[in-house]
Each structure stands twice: as C-alpha cells, then as structure tokens.
Symmetry: C2
Subunit: 205 residues, 2 copies
C-alpha cells in the first residue's frame, strides 16, 4: 500500500502574497507538490489564467457545485466572492502518495483543519500590518472601502494564527519558499511517518 | 528578554556516522548552532582532538564530574566507556538565545529527553542494519566481540526510535545535513514560537 501524501495548506491575510509565493514555489524545478486549483467567483486579476490560477465560475455555477457535494472540503464567501476547493482531486492525489498544496483564504483553511486535522497548516504572515496596507493599496484594483474591509479582516485573521502549525513571514519571496519547503521536508521526516518503515526492516532481517 | 534557544539532540546507533554528520554540519559556513562538546573516557580515534571533538578524561576524572553535579543533564556508560554532557555550557548558551547542538549516544539522549522534553530529538538512522555492520567493520578499530556487541546494541537502539521527534537516514552526508538544517528551520517557524511576537505587534499598532 502506498503511503498517503501530505495535505499542505498555505493561507494568510488577503494581500499578504499567498498567490505570489505559491507561483514561486511551483515555478521551481524541484517542486514535488501537486497544486489543487481553487474555484472562485471573483474576477481574474491581470495575468491570472482560468484553469491554472483558479477555476473562474459564476455564482450560479459555484452554488451548483455546493449542492452537488463537490466542495465538501471547504468553501467560503469572502469580501463578496465565493472561494472553494474541489474535494475529488485532493482525495485522489493524496491516495496516490503525492503531496497536495492548497493556497486558500483563512476561512477556508479553518474548514480544512476540521476536515483534515492531519494536514500541514502554514500561515503566511505580513512583515507588519502597515506593510500589508501598502501592498493592498499598490495593487490598485480595490476601492477605499474594500481596503478598509480587508484591513479589518486581516487583523481578525492574524488572531486566527493559533489554528496553524507554522508561521512564515513573507518578507522575501524566495526566503518564504525556502521556509515552506523546509517545513514540508521536516514533516516527512517526523518519526510517526518514518518509524513504521524501519520497524518493518528490522522484522525482515 | 531574549528568546531561549533550541536544544538540538542528534543521536543514533553507534557506527551510523553521527560524528561525521556533526562535523559536516559545523564545517558549513552558515551554521548557526553552538556545539556542546561531550566528555568521554574512550580513547580518541584518529583525527579526533581533545577539546574539539570531545573532552577526553580518565575514569577518575569523569566520576569526579558526576559527584560535582557537572553532568546533571546526562551521562552514561556505553560499551565500557563513560560519555556525558557538561550542563553549565548548555544552559548558559540556551539562555543567550542560541541553539545548542548535542551529538550523543542513545542512552544519553533518553536522559536528555527527560530533563529537556522541549528539545528537538533527531535520530540518525542507518540505511540498513547490514550497512551499519559494514561501517563498523571498515572502521577497523574494533574486535569481533565489540562488533557483535554493537550490532545487538544497535538493534535495541533502533527500537528506541520512538523517543525521537524526527528520523534522518544517513544515506548521504550532505543530504543528512540538509535534512537536519530543514528540521531546525521548521522548528523555529512553529506557531507556538512565532505567534507571541505577532500578537505583540498587533497590540502596538
């Protein structure tokens, strides 16, 4: 029987750069993760591609997925848009022994934590709240009200850090990627995962 | 107040290459660990230097250290020789916020686990028991009886794996070093260590 893969969940406040860090991780040659593409009803940002960054859906389409149990793992409404994770792909890939990488909003991550407590939950944190504000403003795609909403949401989300296993500060994209890779490598070396293999070896000899 | 350093304990069966891996880690430029030099009554092997690899002592000297509470953290008799860790250096260095690296025998590691349950316990494992035997033989410094003793001890020690947090296979020295570095980096990113810093930041703003 194949050893089950790890479910890696990268989350954190809106605007912290989850998407950028995720793209950087997957642009590196030696990545061994399988990326689980989320479904969303929000508009694509510049450069985002349907079926690569997200599956972009209408609200009607998204609600039909909920009804058909396609988003059992998690879905959430966030600042007026739906986000969700198609469960079939995740379950199948873990069973194949591959690690699955989710990049999702905090609300969704908390739901995944309930469904998959054995997952690896990484919180991507802003170097400071003021820098978070700068980043949202310079993205230039949001109104002032939205920015204010996001700041308030972010403060609440930072308090949600307690639901995570690890905290990685996104002060530099490459450093953040290196840290995430180290966390996943360490997780694979945990005694609970490795010891059974050795005990089997001892029995054979 | 300075954040307390991590106590990193590298251990594993005799002959698995603990000393070699430790030397490789400390020969790398970016090592941030402080090495805690053990005390032993065994004879120096070729290339080993007193005060660098070990403090080499007589049995009388070692027993006086026990009496004077200098080895409270751990000491053990192993295949006819004493091994121990001077406690004062470890405690002082952790208080300075630096990570302390111990490379010790399994018996000693179990004692440290009792004294410092918050330590990071890494088990260095042989790729296979047969390869372990090869390594001991090719070292060429032991008699056949000693080798037999060590094999039996090793089998028992592998069953002690359960007392450790992580298992790193020593199939390649550089890979083993990379894994140990990843484990320590991940440990520093654990939410329990990082979250208090962020909560403080939130209060300030």
């Amino acid at each position: 029987m194949k050893e089950r893969g790890l479910l890696i969940v990268l989350s954190g406040p809106s605007g912290v750069g989850k998407g950028t860090v995720r793209q950087a991780i997957f642009s590196q040659q030696d990545t061994k993760f399988e990326y689980s593409i989320s479904v969303t009803t929000r508009n694509p940002r510049e450069g985002e591609v349907d079926g690569v960054d997200y599956f972009f859906k209408s609200r009607d389409e998204f609600e039909r997925m909920i009804e058909n149990n396609k988003l059992l793992l998690e879905w959430a409404e966030y600042v007026g848009n739906y986000y969700g994770t198609p469960v079939d792909y995740v379950e199948q890939t873990l069973q194949e022994g591959k690690d699955v990488f989710l990049e999702i909003e905090v609300q969704g991550a908390l739901q995944v934590r309930n469904a998959f407590p054995e997952g690896l939950f990484i919180f991507l944190a802003p170097p400071s709240l003021s820098e978070l504000k700068n980043r949202i403003v310079t993205r230039g795609t949001e109104t002032d009200d939205l920015i204010e909403n996001r700041m308030n949401a972010a403060k609440a989300e930072i308090e949600m850090m307690d639901a995570y296993d690890y905290v990685v500060e996104n002060d530099d994209i490459q450093t953040a990627c290196d840290k995430i890779n180290a966390i996943v490598l360490a997780e694979h070396l945990k005694r609970e995962r490795v010891a059974p293999r050795y005990k089997k070896m001892l029995e054979v000899e």
